[in-house]
C-alpha cells in the first residue's frame, strides 16, 4: 500500500461524517483501504503516475466547500445559442436555486434519495478512486428520466470549481433513464481558480429498455487540474448509450469509462478527442463488456499532441461466451506534432464467444506530408494547411455531438487551438 494512505488529512476526510449512505461509504472506505492509491507497479495506472502527482500537489485532503455564483455567471458560461436546461454545481455541490426545473424529470440531491444504490454500477472494488469517492463524496445529484419521457433539449451539468490549493472535489452523479426514455447530458466545468486541485468524480448511469442516452463531456479546466473521472453505464435490451469526451487541457486527467452491455440488440458508442499541448497528460481507459448476444459497440478515440504532452489510451473489450453475434469495433489514432509528445496506446480485446465480429486498430504518426504538400501546391499556406488537416482529423469525433450549440462551442475551441497554437 502506498504511503499516501497515511496522509493524516486523508484519514480525516475518510472518517468525516457526511450525509447519509453510511453503508455505501463504509464499503467505499474498505475498498479504498484494500486497494490504496495505485503504485507505479499498478498495471491500470502504469502510464499515469497519479499518486506521485497527488503527493506533490495535494496538501490537504478536505472537500472543497460550496461557494456562491450568480445567475449572471451561469448565463455567461452557456454556449452561444444553447436552449437546453441547466443544472448548476459549485465544487460539486448542487445549486437548486440556479438550476432549471426540468419538466417531467426528477432532480434531487443524492442525500434526499437515500435508497439510491450507489456503487452498484460503478463498483468500488474496481478502481481505488471510485472507492475513494464512494467513501467520501460531497453530496451529489440524482436524476431520473421517467419511462417514455423524451427530453428533446439537452441537460447541461455546469460545474463551477474554485478549490483552495490542494483541496479535493468529489461529486457523485446518479442518472437513470426509464424504458423508452431519451435524454442528452452535457458535462462542462468552469475553473475559477488558478491553483491545483483534485477532482474525483463518479457518474453512474442506468439505461432502461430501449432507452437512448447521450453523454457528452468537455474537459478544459486548465493546466492545474488533476482529475479522475469514473463513468459507468449499464445498458439493457434495445438500449443505446453514446458518449463523446473532449479533453483539451489538464495537468493530469484520467477518464475511466465503462459500458456494461446487459441486454441484447443494444449499442454502446464511445468517441473521444484529446487535443493537448504544454505538459498536459490525459489518459482514457475505456471498457466495454459484452455479456449478451446481438449487441454492438463502436469506439473511436483520436489524439493530437503537441509540446511535451502525453496521451494514454487503453481500450478493453470483453466478449463473454454468451455474447454471440457481437459486433465490436475500436479505433485509436494519434498525431504527434512534437518530438517530445508521447502516446501510449493499447487495445485489449478478450473474446470468449466464437461467432463475433471484432476489430481494433491504432495508429500513431505525424501529419501526412503528402496531404500537406497537396494543399500547399494549391496555394494554401503551410500553417493553414496543417490546421485544415488537423481539424479534419479531429472533426471525425466532433461530428458525433448532436447538440448544435455545444458542437459549435467545441469546434471553435478546437479550431482556435489548431489555428493559433499549432
Amino acid at each position: 500500500m502506498s504511503t499516501l494512505i497515511k496522509h493524516e488529512t486523508l484519514g480525516e476526510m475518510l472518517n468525516s461524517s457526511s450525509k447519509g449512505f453510511e453503508k455505501a461509504r463504509a464499503e467505499g472506505k474498505e475498498a479504498f483501504e484494500n486497494q490504496g492509491f495505485p503504485t507505479n507497479k499498478s498495471e491500470e495506472y502504469k502510464f499515469t503516475a497519479i499518486s506521485k502527482k497527488l503527493e506533490q500537489s495535494i496538501q490537504n485532503y478536505a472537500l472543497a466547500e460550496s461557494f456562491e455564483v450568480t445567475a449572471e455567471d451561469v448565463k455567461s458560461n452557456l454556449f452561444e445559442g444553447y436552449t437546453g436546461d441547466v443544472l448548476v454545481f459549485t465544487n460539486g455541490h448542487f445549486q437548486p436555486n440556479l438550476s432549471s426545473a426540468i419538466a417531467g424529470i426528477e432532480v434531487s440531491l443524492l442525500s434526499e434519495k437515500s435508497d439510491t444504490p450507489v456503487g452498484s454500477i460503478a463498483k468500488p472494488a474496481k478502481d481505488p478512486f471510485c472507492a475513494l469517492n464512494q467513501a467520501a463524496f460531497t453530496d451529489g445529484i440524482f436524476i431520473s428520466v421517467p419511462k417514455k419521457a423524451v427530453v428533446e433539449k439537452p441537460i447541461l451539468l455546469l460545474n463551477f470549481n474554485k478549490a483552495i490549493n490542494g483541496q479535493v472535489i468529489q461529486p457523485r452523479v446518479w442518472i437513470e433513464a426509464g424504458d423508452f426514455a431519451e435524454v442528452t447530458f452535457i458535462n462542462h466545468t468552469v475553473n475559477l481558480s488558478d491553483v491545483t486541485y483534485f477532482s474525483n468524480k463518479v457518474t453512474e448511469i442506468k439505461g432502461g429498455v430501449n432507452s437512448q442516452i447521450r453523454f457528452y463531456k468537455l474537459q478544459n479546466e486548465g493546466k492545474n487540474v488533476i482529475e479522475v473521472s469514473n463513468t459507468e453505464t449499464d445498458i439493457h435490451k434495445d438500449g443505446r448509450f453514446s458518449s463523446v469526451t473532449i479533453s483539451l487541457s489538464g495537468e493530469m486527467v484520467r477518464n475511466n469509462l465503462s459500458i456494461n452491455i446487459l441486454g441484447s440488440n443494444s449499442e454502446g458508442n464511445m468517441y473521444g478527442l484529446y487535443l493537448l499541448n504544454g505538459k498536459s497528460h490525459v489518459d482514457n481507459h475505456t471498457n466495454v463488456d459484452h455479456t449478451v448476444p446481438h449487441a454492438e459497440s463502436n469506439e473511436l478515440y483520436k489524439g493530437i499532441l503537441a509540446d511535451h504532452s502525453r496521451g494514454v489510451f487503453n481500450g478493453k473489450i470483453f466478449v463473454r461466451q454468451d455474447a454471440q453475434k457481437t459486433n465490436a469495433f475500436q479505433q485509436n489514432n494519434n498525431i504527434l506534432l512534437s518530438e517530445d509528445a508521447v502516446v501510449n496506446t493499447k487495445p485489449q480485446l478478450e473474446i470468449w464467444a466464437d461467432d463475433v465480429k471484432c476489430s481494433h486498430g491504432c495508429t500513431t504518426g505525424q501529419l501526412d506530408e503528402e496531404a500537406l504538400f497537396y494543399l500547399q501546391a494549391r496555394g494554401i499556406a503551410k500553417d493553414q494547411a496543417k490546421g485544415l488537416l488537423l481539424y479534419a482529423f479531429a472533426g471525425e469525433v466532433l461530428e458525433h455531438i448532436r447538440d448544435e450549440s455545444f458542437r459549435k462551442y467545441c469546434t471553435d475551441l478546437v479550431q482556435d487551438r489548431l489555428g493559433s497554437k499549432f
Binding site: 504538400f373 494549391r378 499556406a381 503551410k382 488537416l389 479534419a392
Partner: protein, 254 residues
C-alpha cells in the same frame, strides 16, 4: 516564361536529375516523355517544390524569379500548377471549402479581392462544365472515394479554378479510359492561351493525340537526350524507347 538550366536533383543522396535544360515560352505546350524511372515525375515534383528532393545544382527561373527559392504555396500563387499523378485523398476536408481557401489565398497574393460565397459558386459552376464534373462530387471530402478518372478530372478542375500560368500535368493520362481522357484533354485545351504554358509529362503517346504538343523531349537517366516535335512522339510510339536508350548508352561508352 520558364528557364531550366543544368538542373540536378537527388533524393536521399541518389541523383535523379543530372543536368536538365529546358526553355518554355508562353503559349507553348511541351511534352516530356521517357521510360519509367527516367526522372519525369521528379522533374514535375522539383518544379512544384516537393521537399524530399534536394536540388544540388542548376537554376530554375520562372517569370524572372528564382523558383527554387520559393515555398510550394508561393510557387502556386505565382502561377505554377502541378496536376498530381496520384491526387491525395483527404478525408474530412470538403472539396469546396478547400478550393475556396486555395482560390482566395491565391487571389490575395495576386492583389485581387477575395471571392464571396456567391461569386465563388458562380466561378465553380462555370469551371465544372469544363471537365464535366458533378457538383455532388464536390460536396464530398477531397478526392475521398473518387474513381481514378474523377480524381484526374478534379485536378484539371482545380487547375481551371486557380488560373495558372504554367501547368505541369504529371501522368494525367495514366489509368484513364478513353472517355475520361477526352474530357480531361478537352479541359486542358480550353484552358490554353497565348499567356500560359503547359508541360505534359507522360509515358504514352496517346495523350498527345488530344493535347498536341509544340515540342517533345525525351528524358532518360535524368537528362533530356532528344528533343523534337510531335513526330518524335509518334516515332517513340512506334519504336518504343529502346532505340533511344541504345543511342544514348552507345554514346556514353565511346
Amino acid at each position: 516564361m520558364l528557364s531550366i538550366k543544368n538542373l540536378h536533383a537527388s533524393i536521399e543522396g541518389t541523383p535523379i536529375l543530372r543536368g536538365i535544360n529546358l526553355e518554355v515560352k508562353a503559349g507553348e505546350v511541351h511534352a516530356i516523355m521517357g521510360p519509367n524511372g527516367s526522372g519525369k515525375s521528379t522533374l514535375a515534383s522539383v518544379l512544384a517544390g516537393r521537399e524530399e528532393y534536394e536540388v544540388t545544382e542548376g537554376e530554375v527561373i520562372f517569370k524572372g524569379i528564382d523558383l527554387l527559392e520559393l515555398s510550394p504555396e508561393v510557387r502556386a500563387r505565382e502561377g505554377v500548377f502541378l496536376a498530381f499523378q496520384y491526387p491525395v485523398e483527404i478525408p474530412g476536408v470538403s472539396s469546396t471549402n478547400f478550393l475556396r481557401t486555395a482560390v482566395n489565398q491565391v487571389r490575395e497574393y495576386r492583389g485581387l479581392e477575395p471571392l464571396d460565397a456567391v461569386k465563388f459558386l458562380t466561378l465553380m459552376k462555370e469551371k465544372m462544365k469544363l471537365v464535366e464534373i458533378d457538383q455532388k462530387l464536390l460536396s464530398r471530402s477531397l478526392n475521398e472515394g473518387f474513381s481514378g478518372g474523377e480524381k484526374k478530372r478534379n485536378e484539371i478542375f482545380q487547375m481551371a479554378m486557380l488560373d495558372p500560368t504554367l501547368s505541369i500535368l504529371d501522368e494525367t493520362d495514366s489509368g484513364l479510359d478513353i472517355d475520361a481522357l477526352r474530357i480531361v484533354s478537352n479541359g486542358v485545351n480550353q484552358l490554353k492561351s497565348d499567356k500560359n504554358a503547359t508541360i505534359v509529362v507522360t509515358h504514352y503517346q496517346r495523350l498527345l493525340d488530344y493535347i498536341v504538343p509544340d515540342f517533345v523531349h525525351v528524358l532518360y537517366n535524368g537528362r533530356i537526350v532528344k528533343s523534337g516535335t510531335k513526330e518524335l512522339a509518334m516515332e517513340l510510339e512506334e519504336k518504343g524507347y529502346d532505340w533511344i536508350k541504345e543511342e544514348v548508352d552507345s554514346k556514353a561508352t565511346v
